[in-house]
């Protein structure tokens, strides 16, 4: 029991083990189909972050932080923002900031269509997912710090 004593009960852990991958996949699906169906980078990013938050709630912070540590989260957040900005700046090639620079924009309602939109969605999902996870981690770590002081 020593190894598994952190986190919630066995029932929660088992259910989490089954669902966490599905939640992550669903988040990725929402991001990639952002230009076709409701949802998009923000909603998908939130769902991706929630899958890790789920992991943290069920198994304790060590397990989740082993998968995605705080520096990694902040790295992804910066990369997401820079990626979004770069997509906007590449538009200057065609003369305009935020220009949809793909000449062949594909068939509407297919996965590979709409030019820069899917790329923007992916960038936003990085930013939002990593940002939300980082906020949750910050709250958790702050809580533990204050509990340590009280003891």
């Amino acid at each position: 029991m020593t190894k598994n004593s952190k986190g919630m009960t066995l029932i929660v852990k088992t259910i989490t083990r089954l669902t966490v991958g599905l939640i992550l996949l669903y988040g990725i699906y929402i991001v990639l189909h952002g230009h076709l169906t409701p949802g998009g980078g923000f909603a998908g990013g939130v769902i991706i972050a929630l899958s890790f938050v789920h992991l943290m709630l069920a198994f304790g912070k060590e397990v989740a932080l082993k998968k995605v540590s705080r520096p990694i989260a902040s790295l992804f957040e910066s990369i997401g923002a820079l990626m979004f900005l770069s997509i906007a700046v590449i538009g200057f090639v065609g003369g305009y900031f935020f220009l949809n620079f793909f000449i062949n924009k594909g068939t509407p309602f297919k996965l590979f269509s709409a030019g820069i939109m899917p790329l923007c969605n992916i960038a936003i999902s990085f930013k939002v997912g990593a940002g939300l996870f980082a906020i949750f981690v910050a709250l958790v770590l702050l809580k533990i710090d204050s509990e340590d002081k009280e003891r």
Binding site: S78, I79, A81, L85, L99
Partner: protein
């Protein structure tokens, strides 16, 4: 390539680069932030001449034509504000190089700083109502974090208060924008102005004006909405205090107020009267509250409320001369209030205190800080020939010209009170006998000195901006753009073609 989007791209890009690499590469945050702000200061000065040659420029983001797409508008007023913001921001980053050494996470500071700057530039340059709100939130949220940068008890409390008040303000602004959108079915500011002109006057516009007055009034800390400012501005590190007091309240509050009230909604007599009253109250009460302060930065914060009162008063008078006075005072206040806050930072850097009663005779050990602070103080109190004198003179002339004799008298009296509390500041901090415990303090490092000296020089020289020939380049286009009122829409649509 058009320079207009660069005002948003450079600060945001450098902010994210600093957050990505700043921790690993030493020296990158300093150099990138300074380079970025210097570049933007150069570009904004270039934009003045661009406007002189080409006229108003509208940039179509993504190649979509307004009012369908988002537009960025560079006119006289935007370019004037860009110069004010970016020039001051560059001098403040120069000051931060040495000052911020005592804090551990310099790169976090620069990330938030550049985000805030990007937000402010965005507010100035955008031609789209909702974009204005988004950029306003970027700048405001970055500033909440910056106020809490020291994470001591006092700073967190100030930041929380500021955040609650700022959140309420944003809510009012968002509600106003939503109502305007429902009325006009467009978010482009020029198009909104055109639709509103076509629809004629309505009660809803007046209601929206009140919402905006509360929202932007909170951001600008006009008197009944000022309660957060005296806590928030002194708590931040000195460069941020300079940034908040010198620039943020003007861009998020005054500039947005001017742009929306005069260029989109059109100058309504009822609103102008309210501005007159609020301006006078802030002017008087800010000055009276400043006299009793013992904390040097708190005194400066109350002084900001008082000086914002002058600008709002001049906006309420609404004659070409008054607008010139308001804009010129806005520029001057950005310069000398930043200078004074940087001076207070220099004192804190050397002595470690902000309490006026503990200082005294600092001129002996810190002559340069003392001299520049004297110049800043005299300029803000309106001593000729420094810059503050000219802008206050114009505002008082404009008040007399339009028949507001009492307001002119009050403005003169407040100027005297201003002189009184700045003399108190000088007397307590720099004159008198040096206390024993300050015998061995040193003058601040070179970059801090340089930044203060340049700001003081601008204080001395800024009166020259009124000279014929110079005025036509810098102040006149801004004055014309603002006083054009609802012709803004026609100007913008003309330059799209």
């Amino acid at each position: 390539m058009n320079i207009i989007p660069l005002f948003v791209v450079i600060p945001l890009g450098s902010a994210f680069l600093i957050s990505l690499l700043g921790k690993r590469i030493k020296g990158l945050p300093d150099s990138l932030a300074n380079l970025g702000t210097l570049l933007m200061a150069g570009l904004s000065i270039y934009s003045i001449f661009l406007i002189k040659e080409v006229g108003v420029q509208v940039y179509k983001v993504g190649g979509w034509t307004p009012p369908i797409g988002i537009s960025m508008v560079l006119d006289g007023l935007s370019s004037f504000m860009l110069v004010t913001v970016n020039l001051t921001a560059f001098l403040i980053t120069l000051f931060s190089i040495s000052y911020m050494k005592k804090y551990t996470a310099k790169w976090k500071f620069y990330t938030l700083f550049m985000l805030m700057l990007g937000g402010m530039n965005g507010v100035i340059i955008t031609g789209d109502m909702f974009n204005l709100f988004v950029f306003l939130e970027i700048a405001a949220i970055a500033s909440y974090a910056l106020v809490a940068f020291g994470i001591e008890h006092e700073e967190l409390e100030a930041s929380f208060k500021y955040m609650v008040m700022g959140g309420v303000a944003s809510l009012f602004i968002l509600l106003g924008i939503a109502l305007l959108y429902s009325l006009t079915s467009t978010l482009n500011m020029a198009d909104m102005g055109r639709v509103l002109t076509a629809q004629g006057p309505s009660k809803l516009v007046l209601f929206v004006s009140v919402l905006f007055l509360v929202g932007f009034g909170l951001k600008a800390a006009i008197m009944p909405f000022h309660a957060w400012l005296p806590d928030a501005h002194p708590s931040a590190p000195a460069p941020i205090s300079a940034m908040l007091s010198g620039l943020l309240i003007k861009v998020l509050g005054i500039y947005a107020l001017m742009r929306i009230f005069f260029n989109v909604l059109g100058a309504q007599p009822a609103i102008l009267d309210i501005l007159l009253v609020l301006g006078t109250i802030s002017m008087v009460a800010g000055a009276l509250l400043a006299i009793g302060q013992e904390d040097i930065k708190r005194m400066l914060a109350y002084s900001s409320i008082s000086q914002i009162g002058y600008i709002v008063l001049a906006m309420g008078i609404w004659t070409p001369l008054a607008i010139l006075g308001a804009l010129f005072h806005l520029f001057n206040h950005a310069i000398f209030k930043s200078l004074l806050f940087l001076n207070s930072g220099a004192i804190e850097y050397s002595t470690g205190t902000r309490d006026l009663r503990e200082m005294g005779g600092l001129n002996a050990r810190m002559p340069l800080t003392g001299t520049t602070s004297l110049i800043g103080s005299m300029s803000i109190s309106g001593i000729p020939p420094l810059s503050g004198f000219w802008s206050k003179l114009i505002i008082i002339f404009a008040a007399i010209q339009s028949g507001h004799f009492v307001l002119a008298l009050i403005a003169i009296l407040v100027s005297v009170i201003t002189l009184a509390y700045y003399l108190k500041l000088q007397r307590y901090a720099f004159f008198g006998n040096l206390q024993d415990k300050w015998k061995h303090i040193l003058e601040v490092p070179f970059t801090m000195k340089l930044s203060m000296v340049i700001l003081a020089l601008i204080c001395i020289m800024a009166g020259a901006l009124l000279l014929p020939g110079v005025r036509e380049i810098f102040l006149k286009p801004a004055q014309d753009a603002l006083y054009a009122g609802k012709d803004y829409a026609a100007t913008v649509f003309e330059s799209i073609r």
